[in-house]
Structure formats: structure tokens, C-alpha cells
């Protein structure tokens, strides 16, 4: 089942690798993260020039037609280099939703600026008490003439401080836990009465709490059918999980090679760490965990590309299995690096933190294990 990449896909991958190797080393990334903004528009523009922002979109939308496998290739390389720019939020989440459920007018109006790297997006679905449940929405949207009026709060929205546009889930009908009645809205981040309170995330990005205090949104900014937001978000989650798993696999592969390398060079008690059998077995388990994660991640992406049914169950399975594997590898990579693994100076801890962040987004490994079980 190993993926044989086409020439085009190989070209995409090698061009990203080359760019990241030359322009996105760990020191460069550290500089980017420590700026006030926390991301680099210069690098973002370079990603767009490489065609990354257009890669997954259908040719009929003006994209390069790469689909889920293109996203997978990009995200895996981004995982290897710990790229912080909001590709996941803008292209995978928002771009994916727009391509999937937007009207043709909206697609024509919105996708070009995403593909050209001009617009940054964020997806605001979570709330203070929602955990990972899309139904659990208390933010309301009520119709008033040609507008919807949005009121409520959205929590821990990754990339919101950077975004030009937000996709916000709000309830147009039903009770706070109903599956039906949640709608998606395109909201300008600089709208009047929208308050954005930013904070730093553990992996060096920026997120925000949003307070919508009667924000006016024109009715034509409704994204997808009124009341159908949860279905759209569920499909979005499958794509999101496929992308996050690819990113996690990229990060895991770096941790495994770094740990292996360290165990061959670091000496304690007069011998290399790697000569201790207990550590050898640990690294064998890390190797196995990565192989399994790669397989399941590719399986999910191939299945999404083929539009097979049951995507949601497989996505939950992958998020759980890859998440546990990633946590195991990340924790052991820190452990086997000893004190150095704890230091901010070494890259290992930063991969650890990105993996911890990936495991929180769209549901942790335990949540998805149980979701998988419920769908069996």
C-alpha cells in the first residue's frame, strides 16, 4: 500500500524540501516565532510562489488539482521543519470548507486570494465548554433584514490574530447541543464589535479568544446551507485530521532520527547510549510506532483522495493511533536526550510541543479512540 508518488508529486515535495532547507532552518524559525507578529509574511509569499497554497484545490476552482495527497506532502514537510505559518488554517481548513460548501460566487470571490497567498484565514468553531463537539454551540446568529447578527464567544482560535477573515460557527436555530441549526459565517476579522484577545500557544503560534458583541454579517456571507454547519465541519475535520497526521508524521520522523543520532554519539559510563539494550528496545518501539503512523496516515489520505465512504471513522482511528504514537515518540525523544531534551535551545523540545498541540486540535487521541469505537 506504499504510495508511489507521481513525478508531479515528487517535484512538489523536492521543491518544498529545498526551500525549507535553505530558508527555514531551525534558527530562522526561532527568529520568526520570536517576532511580535509570530509569523513571516515573506515566507508565506514564497510558499504561495511555490504553488503550495494552490496545490490541493481542484483545477475547476483554479487550483493545481493535487487534492489530499498534495496537502499530505506539504504538511509532512512542514512538520519536519516546524513551519508556523497558517497553511493549515488558511488552505486546509478555510480553503477546504469554501471549496466544499461555498456558493460559486463565494468560491470565485474568495479562493483566488487564498491560492495567491494574499488572504489569511482562521476557523472559529470551538467555545469555552464545547470541547471537541461541533454541535455544542452557544454563539447565536439571528436574522435582521439583510444581515445576521452574531453574539457569543469563541475559544482558542488558532491563527485568529493573524487572520484577515474568519469562518465562525453560530446557531441559527435549535438548542445549544442540537446537531441541526449550526451555520457557518464568513466574518471580517476587523468587523465592528468583534473583540480579539490574543495569546501565545505552546508551539509558538498565536491564538485568540473572540467576543462577538452583535457583529453584523451580511446574509450573503453565510457559508453553506443555513443550519448545515455541523455536516460541513465534520467533512472539514476529516481533511484536518489527514493534514495534522501528515504533519505529525513529519515531526516524528525528525525526532526519531535525532534520537538515534544522539544515542550513537552521546557517551555515558564510557560507552555510547545506544549500546544499552533497554534504550535499543525503546528506539525499536519508536521506529515501529512511526512505521504504523506513516501507514495509517497514508491510508487515510488515499481514502480521502478516492472519496471512499466511512472517512469519518477512519479519520478518528488515525487521529487516535497517530496521536498516541506521536506522544510516545515525543516523550521518549525528550527522555533519551536527557537534560538537553528539556532545553529550549535544542529543537527536540519544540517538536515535542508541536506534537502536543496537534494532539489537542480537533480532539485528542482518547476522544477519537472513543469516537472510533462508537462508529464500529
Amino acid at each position: 500500500m506504499d504510495i508511489q508518488f507521481t513525478e508531479e508529486q515528487e517535484l512538489l515535495r523536492s521543491s518544498i524540501q529545498r526551500f525549507l532547507r535553505e530558508q527555514y532552518g531551525f534558527d530562522e524559525r526561532r527568529k520568526i516565532v520570536s517576532t511580535d507578529e509570530g509569523w513571516s509574511r515573506k515566507h508565506w509569499e514564497a510558499f504561495a510562489e511555490l504553488g503550495l497554497c494552490a496545490a490541493p484545490f481542484q483545477e475547476s476552482s483554479g487550483g493545481l488539482g493535487g487534492g489530499p495527497l498534495a496537502t499530505m506532502i506539504v504538511m509532512q514537510e512542514f512538520g519536519r521543519s516546524l513551519v508556523v505559518e497558517p497553511y493549515f488554517e488558511t488552505v486546509v481548513l478555510a480553503g477546504g470548507l469554501i471549496e466544499d460548501v461555498a456558493s460559486s460566487e463565494q468560491r470565485e470571490a474568495l479562493l483566488p486570494s487564498i491560492m495567491e497567498g494574499e488572504a489569511i484565514w482562521a476557523l472559529a468553531w470551538s467555545e469555552g465548554r464545547s470541547r471537541y463537539d461541533f454541535n455544542n454551540v452557544t454563539t447565536t446568529a439571528r436574522r435582521q433584514g439583510d444581515n445576521f447578527i452574531l453574539s457569543g464567544t469563541k475559544a482558542a482560535v488558532v491563527g485568529a490574530p493573524w487572520a484577515d477573515k474568519l469562518i465562525v460557527s453560530a446557531r441559527t436555530s435549535g438548542d445549544s447541543r442540537d446537531r441541526h441549526g449550526v451555520s457557518l459565517f464568513i466574518v471580517d476579522r476587523h468587523s465592528a464589535n468583534l473583540h480579539v484577545q490574543s495569546f501565545k500557544t505552546l508551539d509558538g503560534r498565536r491564538a485568540a479568544e473572540l467576543a462577538l458583541m452583535n457583529v453584523e454579517v451580511p446574509a450573503n456571507q453565510l457559508l453553506g446551507g443555513e443550519g448545515d454547519g455541523v455536516v460541513a465541519l465534520e467533512a472539514c475535520r476529516n481533511r484536518a485530521i489527514a493534514a495534522l497526521c501528515a504533519e505529525a508524521v513529519g515531526a516524528m520522523s525528525v525526532l526519531n532520527s535525532a534520537t538515534l543520532e544522539y544515542s550513537k554519539t552521546r557517551k555515558q559510563f564510557g560507552v555510547a547510549l545506544g549500546t544499552f539494550q533497554v534504550l535499543q528496545h525503546r528506539m525499536v518501539d519508536m521506529f515501529i510506532a512511526l512505521e504504523e503512523a506513516v501507514s495509517l496516515m497514508q491510508h487515510l489520505n488515499l481514502s480521502l483522495a478516492a472519496r471512499e465512504p466511512n472517512g469519518s471513522k477512519l479519520a478518528s482511528g488515525a487521529k487516535s493511533k497517530v496521536g498516541y504514537a506521536a506522544r510516545f515518540i515525543a516523550e521518549q525523544a525528550v527522555q533519551l536526550h536527557g537534560g538537553m531534551g528539556m532545553s529550549d535551545e535544542l529543537n527536540v523540545g519544540h517538536y515535542f510541543k508541536r506534537i502536543s498541540s496537534i494532539n489537542v486540535q480537533f480532539g485528542d487521541p482518547t476522544y477519537h479512540l472513543m469516537r472510533y469505537a462508537q462508529q464500529s
Binding site: M342, D344, F352
Partner: protein, 393 residues
């Protein structure tokens, strides 16, 4: 779990409990005392305990200890940690103090012990070096005799709270030709000596707890040598024994477990797919804590009959740290999406932190607790100790 206490011991427990309730400084009740307090703030409780005569439970009465029985010491440890008080600086009171009164000269006892008790001197530990983590016997920092002084050159690392320290106790190599363990000496160095430089190491949680300490041609008077030259390994091992028995951390784990249960009850509804898993996980950890606590009580009972637990003490380090890591991991999961946020260090009210207060330290604690299975002799090393010294493998 409670010990079966005599009336006298029960009265002692009540006295300790009441003393904490009445005297523990409100100022020290911050979200994360280990990182959020200034040096002066973190010494407040130390000074209160000193005034009361309770600062050094382990020490013999002659040197300023309270003269407690094994059981009383255990009760004190249990009550202070259950109440969430910040323990007095271990490097001073638990580690270097006993080395000085056991192996030090009369002059050293007179000079150092009172200032350790009062909190006037803050000590840090110069054991680890860049090339020697769990393999302590490989220290490379050199001390060369020059008249009445040693001239010390080397690089110590992971030195906890060296930024506050007045003194550092160091393992140094005095005989480069001897076998690794045989050429080491135990030296006390004034941090104000010329040639001592402290450089912060920021850890993955963003905090500044540990440091590099560079020693360049530092002149140390020979009277600061503990015991005999080249016998330092014996003193170092004696000290590490004290470090390991105090690592079960039952009180701390119990408090964090209670908070985890509170977060789960408040944040996660019963129809959440993972609710049942949290309940199971909490129960599992609770049983782990219970079993470790019961083991601790069993060992305490043996110790009061004069039986030394010996190297089996490593099991407290292994299980105590694994349990606490698991609790911080579950707590990080329990706060859900807010697990993405992390407090900025140094902590300040100007930095916005989202979500309910009880979740604010979840991320940093999860990250920071990764160190527990690494420091003080990694858990792999502790398992080797048990395999070799207990099981005879």
C-alpha cells in the same frame, strides 16, 4: 491513607496541621510556586519554619533538628505536602546540610549549618556537567591544589536555581590518574568568587529554573573541602540517598489528582465520548498513588524498627515521578482546547491567559514534569540500581 497513630502522634499531626493553617503565607499561594515566586517570597515559609524549629526534620537535635521520630518526620512531610506548602530548598536543608554535619569539620559545621537553617545561605548543586548526566562519576571539572587554595576550572549544568545561590557544592576531579570514582572531591564554593558565571537555561515550558555554571580559575580555600581529598564519591552517594527517598511526592500527586478530578467534573459532560475514559484513568492513577503510599508507610514502619530500605528506595523515585507525569498529562488533556495556551514567563498579570484559572498551569506542568524521569538519576538508571543491588542481576 492514614498511619495507625498513637495518641501522641495524632496530637502531633493536629499541631502540624494547625500550624500550617495559621502560618503559611498567603503570598506564597500562587498558581505555580516553583516558578512564580521571587527568592525572598520563597524564603518566607522557610524562615517561619526556622523560627518554629521545624526547618530540618532530618537533622539530629545537636545540629538544630527537632529530634523527631521516623513517624513524626513522616507525619510532618505528609501534612506539609498535602497542604501544598512549598518545601524548603532541598539543596540546602536535605542535601548539603547532612553532608556537612556527617563529614564536615567543626569549623565547617559552625560556619555553614546555622546559615542553612536560617535561610541566609541559598545552596545549589554542582553535580551534572555537559558530559555527565546520570553518569556522575565522569565529572571533568578540575580542582588543582595551589598552596592554601584549589584552583577550579569546569562547567556545571542543569544547576537548579543557581541564579539565587550564595554557595554551590561541587563534585570536582582532584586526581585525574585515579579510577573515575576514586579521584573525586566534594568542594564548597562561594558563588561570589571571581570566575563564577551563571547563565540561564530556559526549559521547554518557558521557565528559568536551571542554569549553566561556569568556573574559570576559581580560587577556593582548602578549608572548603569536605572530608578527605578524593573521597568525594562517598559523600556524593550519601547525599543522593537522601534525594531519592524524598521523591515519592504522595502529597503533591494527591493534590494534583484532586484538581484533575475537579476539572474533569466541571469541564467534561457525561455524554462526552472520553468522559468514561477519564474516570477510568483517574481511578488507575488513584490506585497507583494508594499503592505507593502504602509502600511508603510500610517502609516507614520498617525504618522505625531500624531496617534500612537501601537501594529499594529507587522505586519511590521511579513510581513517584511516573505517577506525577501521568497526572500532568491527564490534566493537560482535561482542559481540552485550552491545552493550546501556555503562560508566558516571567509570569505577569499583563499577559492574557484564556480559560478557567485552574487550567492555567496545565500546559507548563505537563512540559516541565518531563524532567522528573530524567533528573536525580534517570529512571532507567534507577531501574538498573534495583536490578543490580536489589535483585542481584
Amino acid at each position: 491513607m492514614e498511619l495507625n497513630l498513637s495518641d501522641q502522634d495524632a496530637a502531633f499531626r493536629d499541631e502540624v496541621r494547625a500550624f500550617i493553617a495559621e502560618n503559611y503565607p498567603q503570598e506564597m499561594r500562587v498558581p505555580n510556586p516553583e516558578t512564580d515566586l521571587t527568592k525572598e517570597q520563597s524564603l518566607l515559609w522557610h524562615r517561619i519554619l526556622h523560627k518554629k524549629g521545624w526547618i530540618a526534620p532530618l537533622w539530629p537535635k545537636d545540629y538544630g533538628g527537632p529530634g523527631w521520630s521516623v513517624t513524626q518526620r513522616f507525619i510532618f512531610e505528609q501534612e506539609t505536602s498535602r497542604a501544598g506548602t512549598l518545601p524548603p530548598l532541598a539543596f540546602s536543608v536535605t542535601m548539603v546540610g547532612p553532608v556537612i554535619y556527617t563529614f564536615g569539620s567543626e569549623a565547617q559545621k559552625k560556619k555553614f549549618l546555622p546559615r542553612i537553617l536560617s535561610g541566609d545561605d541559598w545552596w545549589c548543586q554542582g553535580y551534572s556537567e555537559p558530559g555527565s548526566g546520570s553518569d556522575l562519576a565522569s565529572v571533568r571539572t578540575k580542582a588543582v591544589r595551589d598552596g592554601d587554595h584549589y584552583v577550579v576550572n569546569g562547567h556545571k549544568t542543569w544547576t537548579t536555581l543557581a541564579q539565587h545561590a550564595d554557595w554551590i557544592f561541587c563534585l570536582v576531579r582532584t586526581d585525574p590518574s585515579a579510577k573515575p570514582q576514586a579521584g573525586i572531591s566534594f568542594l564548597l564554593i562561594d558563588m561570589k568568587s571571581p570566575g563564577v558565571t551563571v547563565r540561564p537555561i530556559i526549559t521547554i515550558d518557558g521557565s528559568h529554573e536551571v542554569n549553566d555554571v561556569f568556573l574559570e580559575d576559581v580560587r577556593v580555600p582548602v578549608e572548603n573541602l569536605i572530608g578527605e581529598e578524593n573521597k568525594g564519591w562517598t559523600y556524593a552517594k550519601f547525599l543522593l540517598g537522601n534525594e531519592r527517598t524524598s521523591m515519592a511526592g504522595i502529597g503533591r500527586s494527591t493534590r494534583y489528582l484532586q484538581r484533575l478530578a475537579q476539572i474533569v467534573r466541571t469541564e467534561i459532560s457525561e455524554d462526552d465520548p472520553s468522559y468514561g475514559e477519564f474516570i477510568k484513568d483517574i481511578a488507575r492513577v488513584e490506585l497507583d498513588v494508594l499503592a505507593l503510599e502504602a509502600t511508603e508507610l510500610r517502609i516507614i514502619a520498617q525504618m522505625s524498627r531500624g531496617i534500612d530500605p537501601g537501594p529499594a528506595a529507587s522505586l519511590f523515585k521511579i513510581r513517584g515521578t511516573e505517577i506525577f507525569q501521568r497526572i500532568t498529562d491527564l490534566t493537560h488533556q482535561a482542559v481540552g482546547n485550552y491545552g493550546l495556551a501556555i503562560r508566558e514567563h516571567p509570569v505577569s498579570a499583563n499577559h492574557f491567559m484564556p480559560g478557567p484559572d485552574y487550567g492555567h498551569t496545565a500546559t507548563e506542568k505537563y512540559l516541565n514534569s518531563r524532567k522528573l524521569s530524567i533528573y536525580g538519576g534517570s529512571n532507567e538508571i534507577q531501574r538498573n540500581i534495583i536490578a543490580k543491588a536489589v535483585l542481584g542481576l
